[in-house]
Every structure is written in C-alpha cells, then in structure tokens.
C-alpha cells in the first residue's frame, strides 16, 4: 500500500481538479445528449407528460370526473376527441389527468430505493466481510421472485394507497440498487484516494460519504434513470391489477383495467390511456438508453 502511494505522490490532489472536471463533464454529457435524436424525442415526450401532470387542470376541456349519464360510451367526435367512458366521462380529459398519479409515484419510489440502496451498497461494499456476504445472500433471495409477485403478495394483505405503493416499490428497489452501488464501491475502495484518506486518519463513514460517494454519482444517476422506468412499469401494472391507485382516479393503468369490460364495443376507453402510457414508458427508455450510452462512453 505504502509503495503505491509513493509512486503516485506527484499526482495533483484530486479535490479541485476533480470538481472542475466534474462540472465540465456534466456540460459535455448534456451537449452530447442533445445531439442524439433518440434522446431529444424521448425528452420532449417526457417533458410533455410532466407539464401535463402539473398543469392538466388548465389544459383539460372538462373535469375528468364529470359524469354525463346520457353520453355514455360515445365514440370519438369533435366534442369528445377521445370519446366518453361508461359513466359519460370525457376520455380526453381523463387521459390528460391520468399522468399525475404515476409521475408522483415513480420518482418518489425511485428516490426511496436509491437512498436505501446507496446506503446499503456503500456500507456492504466498503466494509465487506460477514455483513456483506449475508446481505448479498439476502439480496439474491429477494431477487429470486419477480418483483410483481412480492408486490401482489404484500399489497393484497396491507391494502393499497398511494403511500403504500411508493414505499413498497422503494423497498423492492433497495436490494437491486444496493447491488449496483456495491459493485462500483468495490472498485473505488481500492483506489489511492481512499488509501490516502485512510492514512489521514479519516473514519469509515467520512470516507464513504465524502470520498467515495462523490466519485460514484454517475453510476447512481444512471441507475436512478433505469429505476424510474421500472417504477412506472411496476406502478402502472399494480394499478391495472387494482392493487395500486383506486377509483375514481383517472390513472391510466386503472382506467385500462376498468375499461376492459367495454373492450369489444368501446375500445377507445382503453386505447387512449394505453397509448399514453406507451408513449411515456418508451420516452423514458429512450432517455435511459441515451444517458447510459453517453455516460459509459
């Protein structure tokens, strides 16, 4: 250890230069991203849905909850662009209002999973030993069932609300994220700057948070974008299985589940929320893919 330190002594201290290059690298990454058509398309669609999720009340032609008993299951027309559903509610208004729930759940669940996973990954990767082995076994066991099955198991017993869904997806993500974080911590742990901090007499928590963490942020950001995609996927599926958001919310997954009964004679009730959800998930995947490609290159 001491020998490697000696040979690398003339290198500049990493503090200042690292910060400068990090800022520069961020701008470089953004510039490269906006040159990729796939990213731009994904970004525009994604921003559209985010803006919609926040301002849909001023965009929508009427309330997504307004019931019109004499206008049920009408096909798309000039007055109801996407037609009406089984209660005469305007499908266009419901599609616009349906992005809010999922765009609330997905980022919050991801944040929770990233925080938990980063903490677990840092500790297990940095200290290693018995705790690490045990935790990783547990992570393996956790990943031995499809996530949706755990969710079905837990939500059917605990009952579902927006909060339960957020916490559940966050908890399910924690082991997955921790495995990714651990793998990058294992690489960083043996680098010289960590050895230097150890020699300075810094304690474990300080090294983890102030030395290693700043150096693995890009890996964590990539993981977070991947997780947002999965969170949307999972949350929408749970709504569809009626284990997530509850009626009368205009949530897309829920609307598709409820509208299935009318599929054969009023497919527009299902088609439009399905297409909306498809554009959202594909846009996020386009973003994820581009971010991964640019960051890893």
């Amino acid at each position: 250890m001491a020998q490697t330190l000696d040979t690398t002594a003339p290198q500049p201290s990493n503090d200042l230069t690292a910060l400068q290059t990090r800022g520069g690298r961020f701008r470089e990454v953004m510039a490269e991203l906006f040159h990729s058509p796939a990213f731009v398309v994904g970004f525009v669609v994604f921003v559209f849905w985010v803006v919609d999720a926040i301002f849909w009340q001023s965009i929508a032609p009427q309330s997504p909850q307004a019931i019109h008993p004499f206008l049920t299951l009408k096909p798309p027309s000039t007055s109801h662009w996407f037609g009406t559903d089984w209660l005469g509610r305007d499908v266009f208004a419901r599609v616009l209002g349906g992005s809010t729930s999922i765009l609330e759940i997905a980022p919050l669940a991801t944040l929770l999973g990233i925080l938990g996973g980063t903490a677990v990954g840092l500790v297990t990767g940095f200290y290693g030993g018995a705790v690490d082995t045990l935790t990783m076994r547990l992570v393996d066991a956790f990943l031995a069932f499809p996530l949706i099955i755990i969710a079905v198991l837990v939500l059917s017993l605990l009952g579902s609300s927006e909060i339960t869904v957020i916490v559940l997806i966050g908890v399910i993500f924690t082991p997955v994220v921790s495995r990714t974080v651990r793998s990058v911590v294992l690489v960083e742990r043996d680098k010289e700057y960590v050895a230097a901090a150890r020699l300075r007499g810094e304690n474990g928590p300080y090294i983890m948070v102030f030395e290693i963490l700043p150096n693995i942020t890009s890996a964590i950001i990539v993981e977070a974008t991947v997780r947002v995609g999965y969170a949307i996927f999972t949350a929408a599926t749970l709504s569809f299985l009626s284990l997530g958001i509850q009626p009368p919310s205009p949530d897309w997954g829920l609307t598709i589940a409820e509208g299935r009964t009318y599929l054969s004679f009023a497919p527009w009730v299902v088609i439009f929320p399905a297409l909306a959800l498809a554009t959202l998930v594909v846009s996020i995947n386009l973003i994820v893919e581009s971010v991964q490609r640019v960051v890893n290159s």
Partner: protein, 313 residues
C-alpha cells in the same frame, strides 16, 4: 468443476432458505392478524379468534414456519381456504398450464430475437441495426398489460383471429396457436427486447476480438468465421439472459393470465392473493422462486461447462 458445482448448489440452497423466510414473513407475519384480514371489518373478535385457532395461527411464529417448510418439502401443501381442494394438485396443474404458455412464447421468440440480434451486430450502426435496437428497446419498456390489451383490441376484437379468453389448448396445432398466441404475445415482446439486445452486445464484442480478426485475415469465408468462430462465444451471455427471462416470465404471467383468463399459476397467485388464500399463495410463490433459482443455477452451470474460464477461475 466439482468444487464449483458444489459451491454453486450450496449457495442456491441458502438462497432458497432465505426465500422461504421472506415469503413466510410477507404472507404470515407482516399482515398481523390474518383472521381479521380474511373475515374483514365486520366480524366479531370471537369469530376472528376462532378462525385463527382453526388455522393454527395462534401458535408461535417459529413453530409455524418450521411446520410450513417441512410439510412443503414432503409435498403436503395443505388445502385451499377458499376452494377447499388440496393445494398440491391445484398449484401443479396451474403451473403446468403456465409452462405450456411460457414454452410456447420462448420457442417462438428466442430464435427470432437471437437471429435479429446477430443481424444487428453484423450491420452495426447501419439503418438495420438502429431499427432493430430501437424497436427492441421500445418493446422492453411496454408493460405487459398495455401490449396485451392493444393486441386484444386489434387481433381478436377487430379481426376475430383469436378468442378473447384463452383456454389450455388440446394437442391440435390450430388450437395451440389460437389459444396461446395472444397471451404469449406480451411476453414475446419483452423477451425480444432483452434477448436481441444481449445477442447483439455479445456478437459485437466478439467480432472486435483478435481471434476473429485473425480468422478473417487468414481468408476464411465470412459464414465460417461467423458460425464456427464468433457465434459460439458471443451467444454465451445470451444463454444466461434467456434463463433469467424464463424465470421472470412467471412474473409477467400474473398480468397476462389475468387479461386473457388463462388458468395458469400467475392467475392463481393473483386470485389467491385477493382472496387471502394463504396456503395456495405461499405454495405457489415458493414454487415460482424455486423454479427461478433452479433455472438460474442451471444457466450458471451450463455457462461454466461451456466456458472454462469460469469453471477454473
């Protein structure tokens, strides 16, 4: 190799023990009072107490866990709370139906995905590659119920090509395709996304390697380089991905079988969860985890058998 196998099998066993613990905790400890969950808010405390005693839920947790796991191993899975039939037969029958559906999806889509993945790698950065990659990636993102419902609208309601609700097919090939194609479609879409991407990545890596360059430079025909030299190595990681996907198929079966009313294990897990049928739920979920762990183990061992670096390292 023997040491590697023993080590790998032991790890899988440890994983299974932990899995059983997780299932037990999630199904029996987490919900608190199971009698109350089953009977709902309107039952009296005495009724709740009675059902808890009847189901043996008043015994200590460790004793219940031990009981459950030992009788699971001996194949005594108890009987279903809501259907009043033996769990073993029920779960196994449904599981078999799911295997039929999953196998159908895999057989149909894996060759296509691997083929197109390799084509994308060969035409790297050309239009064909971009198109295949982009389509695969978009497919990866689509939840099963979105593809399932859209396919249902187009293929069975608009064109009447397939029935809206699927049953387990008879041996007749027409019946197989008619009943299985639609429920298999959402899974094929997902598998295509993963497998084609893996096949492409593996092939690209190998095509850039020195030994392939040597093979090309010594004048071997392109097809020989590809089939004899490159693909053997490039498809190794794809095997692992296919095994992992086969395990994850079961997860998407929950959704797909619900949409198409197909009597498989996913549908069973879903209905058992909604009706709080603990014996069925625990057995079915544990079986899924068991299958997943075994497929993963098999994939790892196959990988090691084909790749000396893993088995000796």
């Amino acid at each position: 190799m023997t040491i590697y196998i023993v080590k790998r099998v032991l790890l899988a066993l440890i994983t299974l023990v932990l899995v059983s613990l997780i299932i037990f905790v999630a199904a029996e400890v987490l919900p608190g009072n199971i009698g109350r969950t089953i009977l709902g808010h309107f039952a009296t405390n005495a009724q709740v107490q009675a059902i808890n005693v009847k189901l043996g839920l008043n015994r200590p947790v460790l004793e219940r866990y031990w009981d459950w796991i030992t009788s699971f191993i001996r194949g005594r899975w108890g009987s279903s709370y809501s259907l009043q039939v033996p769990v073993f037969g029920l779960v196994m029958r449904r599981f078999l139906n799911s295997i039929i559906l999953g196998a159908f999806a895999l057989v149909l889509i894996v060759p296509v995905s691997v083929g197109l993945g390799v084509v994308a790698a060969l035409r790297r950065n050309h239009f064909t590659d971009r198109a295949i990659t982009l389509v695969g990636m978009s497919m990866l993102a689509l939840p099963e119920f979105v593809t399932g419902v859209l396919a249902l609208i187009v293929l069975s309601i608009q064109f009447h090509w397939f029935p809206v609700s699927s049953v387990v097919p008879s041996a007749n090939p027409v019946s197989i395709v008619r009943n299985l194609f639609l429920p298999a479609l959402p899974e094929m879409v997902l598998i295509f996304g993963y497998v084609s991407r893996m096949a492409r990545a593996g092939t690209v890596e190998v095509l850039e390697s020195n030994y392939v360059r040597t093979a090309v430079l010594k004048g071997l025909p392109r097809s020989r380089v590809l089939f004899r030299h490159a693909l053997r190595n490039s498809l190794l990681p794809t095997i692992t991905v296919i095994a992992v996907q086969a395990g994850y198929l079961v997860g998407s079966l929950v959704v797909v079988e619900t949409i198409f009313n197909y009597p498989g294990i996913g549908n069973l897990i879903y209905t058992a969860a909604l009706s709080h049928d603990q014996p069925v739920l625990q057995a079915a979920v544990f079986l899924v985890a068991l299958v997943y762990t075994v497929t993963n183990l098999t994939a790892d061992l196959a990988y090691a058998a084909l790749n000396p670096r893993v088995r000796l390292g």
